[in-house]
């Protein structure tokens, strides 16, 4: 028996601040994004499906400290960042967050990220595997007067699930007043925390940035609550797939653009008039009627055989696309996937076929997300 898709890393992976804590919790560690990361935990509540289901019904603690925590500051920092992303940053109110994309001049996606107006600075959370390239890109294209800070000695913990708010509120009063995509500073047990109501599971939840030396204390306090279990990368991947959220390096890449990727919402309406950012021309061409040769869509498969990244998609004899993510959906009980499909075949309900080991599996184009989001939106 052997994995048919082995992963290997060129550099020996680094350790997360909570490395020892994960191992003590029974984690199985695997190399990912240059770090040894917990893929799943042993024990009664462990395993990808159990951790997945726990996140959908209670609350799970994810360590996402591999992600890059950056900040930019200085005069006109927001306007300068706007030259590199299609999102509106300058009009973000204090404490508000926006999902956006770093684009090349040709409109290719360098990374997806969250930008937060954090008072004196703009906080950026970027993908772990991309962070060094992102830093180089930002440093190259931002004026020297803009300060770029990399919070290398900060941990990032995500508490996700329908009980996340009641758990965190019991520990840190006031956090439940945050609504989806807002953030603020809090203190707990003498520790300064920066807490965002966000995440990448489709559930309500929080991301908590704090000095790495304090992370274990908070992690222990969180899992001491019987509503919380630790969850690994495996569940994080199946959760984000069900939530229809793209993963950089799989569903997004330099070869994809925001519109083909189904992220036109991240191309600011106001900035479509004014432009002035990398990739603007490409975004406008793709937004035009018939501008995308392919689009990212969801596919639902029958049966139990998962189709994985790289599997080819057919309409009768014609190849019409390729899977960029795929797996078994624990919530729905059948396989789901994301794929780039020729635009003529992307209407929801279209029946296609995915080829897995020479077999053609029926697949139906499905509106994303597969599992509805349960974000805590303002006024909800």
């Amino acid at each position: 028996m052997s994995d048919s898709e082995p992963e290997f890393e060129e550099q020996p992976p680094e350790k997360l601040p909570l490395d020892a804590w994960h191992r003590a919790q029974g984690a199985r560690m695997v190399p990912f994004a240059g770090y040894e990361m917990p893929i799943q935990y042993n024990g009664e509540h462990g395993g990808i499906v159990a951790e997945h289901n726990w996140t959908r019904t209670s609350a799970s603690l994810f360590d996402v400290s591999h992600m890059g925590q950056l900040a930019i500051s200085g005069e006109n920092a927001a306007h300068e960042l706007e030259k590199l992303v299609p999102g509106a940053i300058a009009n973000l109110g204090e404490g508000k967050m926006r999902y956006t994309l770093l684009l090349t001049e040709g409109g290719g996606i360098i990374d997806d990220l969250i930008v937060t107006h954090a008072g004196e600075r703009l906080a950026l959370v970027v993908n772990g595997a991309c962070k060094w390239d992102d830093i180089a890109h930002l440093r190259e294209h931002l004026p020297d007067a803009i300060t770029l800070t990399h919070y290398e000695d900060f941990a990032l913990l995500a508490l996700q699930g329908p009980k996340a708010a009641e758990v965190l509120e019991s520990l840190i009063p006031g956090v439940d007043e945050l609504s989806f995509m807002t953030a603020a500073a809090f203190t707990w047990d003498g520790i300064d925390l920066w807490i965002s109501r966000a995440g990448y599971t489709g559930e309500d939840g929080f991301e908590i940035a704090l000095p790495e030396g304090d992370a274990e204390r908070l992690a222990n306090a969180l899992v001491a609550d019987e509503r919380v279990q630790p969850a690994g990368l495996g569940a994080r991947d199946s959760l984000r797939l069900e939530a229809g959220l793209p993963l950089y390096g799989h569903d997004l890449s330099l070869e994809t653009d925001p519109v083909s990727a189904g992220l036109a919402f991240a191309v600011s309406k106001a900035r479509r008039e004014t432009g002035g950012y990398f990739g603007y021309q490409t975004c406008m061409e793709r937004l035009a009627e018939g501008g995308c040769a392919q689009m990212r869509v969801g596919l639902s498969l029958e049966g139990r055989l998962p189709a994985r990244e790289g599997a080819e998609v057919f309409a009768a004899a014609a190849k019409v696309g390729t899977l960029t993510s795929g797996g078994f959906s624990p919530t729905l009980g059948h396989p789901v996937a994301m794929a780039y499909i020729d635009t003529a075949h992307t209407a929801p309900g279209t029946t296609l076929e995915v080829e897995v080991r020479g077999k053609r599996l029926p697949a139906t184009v499905t509106t994303l997300p597969f599992v509805p989001h349960k974000y805590h939106r303002k006024g909800a």
Binding site: M1, E5, I48, V49, L305, P335
Partner: protein
């Protein structure tokens, strides 16, 4: 009856001229939640080391190889409806397929339970 193990974490139980093949408890633990198993068709001729079955976990697809040469006698039909048997009973009800033993000398290079345990402890 004698049970042998491979470095690919398969077990093979030989009963006279027939052998039953599955994956070990260590293997299912590494794979995690199994969601689909594809077993070989009855009558398939397998060379030692050939891809014989595929097991899909939530995480990834893995090949299961024929530990010896022979002909497939039967695939475990129960795995189609209940693939999680591979997790709950890997070395019993979660067997993959039965095959003939074409060449008994091929068994000589395989590990017994004690040798396999030592092999896993060294990983």
């Amino acid at each position: 009856m004698a049970r042998y193990f491979t470095e690919e974490h398969e077990w093979i139980e030989v009963d006279g001229e027939a052998a039953t093949i599955g994956i070990t408890d260590y293997a299912q633990e590494q794979l995690g939640d199994v969601v689909f198993v594809e077993v070989p068709q009855t009558g398939t001729a397998l060379e030692k080391g050939a891809e014989a079955a595929v097991v899909e976990s939530v995480k990834a697809a893995s090949d299961v190889y024929a530990p010896i040469s022979g002909e497939v006698l039967e695939g475990n039909g129960a795995l189609e409806a209940d693939p999680e048997l591979v997790n709950s009973s890997p070395e019993d009800e979660g067997w993959f397929f039965k095959m003939t033993v074409a060449d008994k000398s091929e068994l000589e290079g395989l590990m017994d339970a004690a040798a396999y345990k030592a092999f896993c402890d060294g990983l």
